[in-house]
Amino acid sequence: MTHKRRELIQYAIFAAFIIAVPLVFRGRQSYYVSMLALSGIYAIVALGLNLLMGFAGQISLGHAAFFSIGAYTTAILSTRLGWQPIAGLLPAVAVSGFAAFVIGLPTLKLKEHYLAMATLGVGLIAYSLIKADPGGITGGVTGIVNIPPLVIGGFTFDSDRSQFYLIWAVAFLIFALSFNIIDSRIGRALMAIHKSEVSASVLGVNVFSCKLQIFVLSGMYAGLGGFLYAHCSPMYYLNPDDVCHFSLSIKLLTMVVIGGMGSMWGTLLGAVGLSILPEVLRMLGSLFPGVNTTDIEMAIYGLVLAVIMIASPRQRLKKWLRLDKPRRVEPPKDVEV
């Protein structure tokens, strides 16, 4: 089977899953559809984070900040200035991307620690600013209510099912675009940088510019996720604790780590899996009254992050399944070897 063919089959399975979910969960179970819709939003953001972590070898501990910048930008435009919801898309993505640019510009020339700390800081600051609301635009702790749903071409995305399809269509698109990026000049340069910055640079790769581009892109993905969240969130309501808290940044980080940094399919599964986790914990929690499941969720993230990084179970699994042997890729037909 050629590379191209396998890729197409994978995409087809992915699309089939998307189409099937709302058809399977109906009636009383439609709650799961809205939960999985939310996981699609996280998947978009996590895919960007995966590009940054798995390919550029950088780390962001504050992606919730970019997410909330996107969400608040569009929410403010559509509620306070009366913009059409869809008109907020470009500003949301652009402002998030610009924020990433400002953070990345000084930090990406330095060691990985600096971006990690800077993003951690930006997350804390964004949270406290949104909560304190100095400009009187974010609504402070109460947040922003009555955000209008998206209207595209006369169709209003206000049901669980329509929002699910919209979100996952975007996620599918972002997934395909990200694959294209990996399989391009920039993608190869990023993988080269990840292995050795010096080797990449003497081959003509502008290391700093590549890293900055991918960081801005991941900020834009987060902004896009925030945009979708604002217009599709349950109750059309934004609140700093939901969109900007440090724990969201950690949740996104864990999605990427659990799926295996650098694996796009893994990130997708990680995003869906961790979106379901609170529900699973809530069910288990009802068996143990008095236990706060959100604390347990946090503890799980922390332990998962540390343990996966220490024990690298993915490599072990690959070794055990004998998948770690060097592979030979099938050459495309139009290239003579």
């Binding site: 675009l177 000049r185 190869r188 502008n206 581009q213 050459p331």
Partner: protein, 253 residues
């Protein structure tokens, strides 16, 4: 005009002088070897030339343009590329993709055309693939193009490493001990390869310990000892130079 002019190049590490007020020229389309005992500052010189390390002072003219202080990728894009003593292929990528990275500076597709797979990008991709395959063919490892780079035997990795540097059609290549770790047969092939590069119009600088190889292929030799140039000239002169003999064998008194 010389292809490369090095004037007063100087570099110290924590007070230890690694390269000491170095002057030399490399003519266009010659093979220039840098030799000297261990710790003579050969690799440091390459690191300064390629912009990997900043110099303390001095000037480097490549094609008549000052390149000292430029970032490594800029120097590479101007046509001076290098390899390292230790081969570091991007081992999880295929051989072909490794070499394609070498074309990075010559191509211009950005994130958005890549994400959208524009026709322009596809054309460029094809062009890059062609270039990379040509470089692999030149080095005789085209049959391994679709193998994972890390799975190749050491000798072939070295060839891929050189192919990667050549993929951008450079004017000048700096080879840092390319024969290290190769067997006699591979070394002979390497020698003819370097001569082939010269025939294609490249200027070659080479650091090497294998004197037989150097004497066979080099047009000129720069001898370094403790960061200083102690001799330079054609191989025949260098072989007879008493200072060189002293530096290599030690003072016999």
């Amino acid at each position: 005009m010389a292809h490369l002019q090095v004037q007063g190049l100087h570099k110290t590490f924590d007070g230890i002088t690694a390269v000491n007020d170095l002057y030399f020229d490399v003519r266009r389309n010659e093979i220039c070897a840098i030799i000297g005992p261990n710790g003579a500052g050969k690799t440091t010189t390459f690191n300064l030339l390629s912009g990997v390390l900043p110099a303390d002072r001095g000037k480097i003219f490549f094609d008549g343009n000052e390149i000292l202080g430029l970032p490594p990728h800029d120097i590479a894009r101007r046509g001076m590329v290098r390899t390292f003593q230790t081969v570091s292929l991007f081992d999880s990528m295929t051989v072909l993709d490794n070499v394609k990275v070498g074309c990075h500076g010559k191509a211009g597709a950005g994130l958005f055309s890549a994400a959208l797979r524009t026709p322009g990008l596809r054309r460029e991709e094809k062009e890059i693939t062609k270039k990379a395959m040509e470089a692999l063919k030149l080095l005789g490892v085209a049959d391994r193009a679709y193998d994972q780079a890390g799975s190749l035997p050491f000798g072939q990795q070295r060839l891929v490493d050189i192919a990667r540097a050549l993929a951008s059609d450079p004017e000048m290549i700096l080879l840092d001990e390319p024969a290290a770790g190769l067997n006699a047969h591979e070394t002979t092939e390497l020698a003819s390869l370097i001569l082939a590069l010269k025939n294609r119009g490249l200027t070659v600088m080479i650091i090497e310990h294998d004197m037989e190889l150097i004497m066979e292929i080099a047009d000129s030799i720069v001898v370094l000892d403790q960061g200083m140039k102690i001799a330079c000239g054609p191989p025949a002169d260098i072989q007879k130079d008493p200072r060189v003999i002293t530096a290599y064998l030690g003072d016999e008194d």
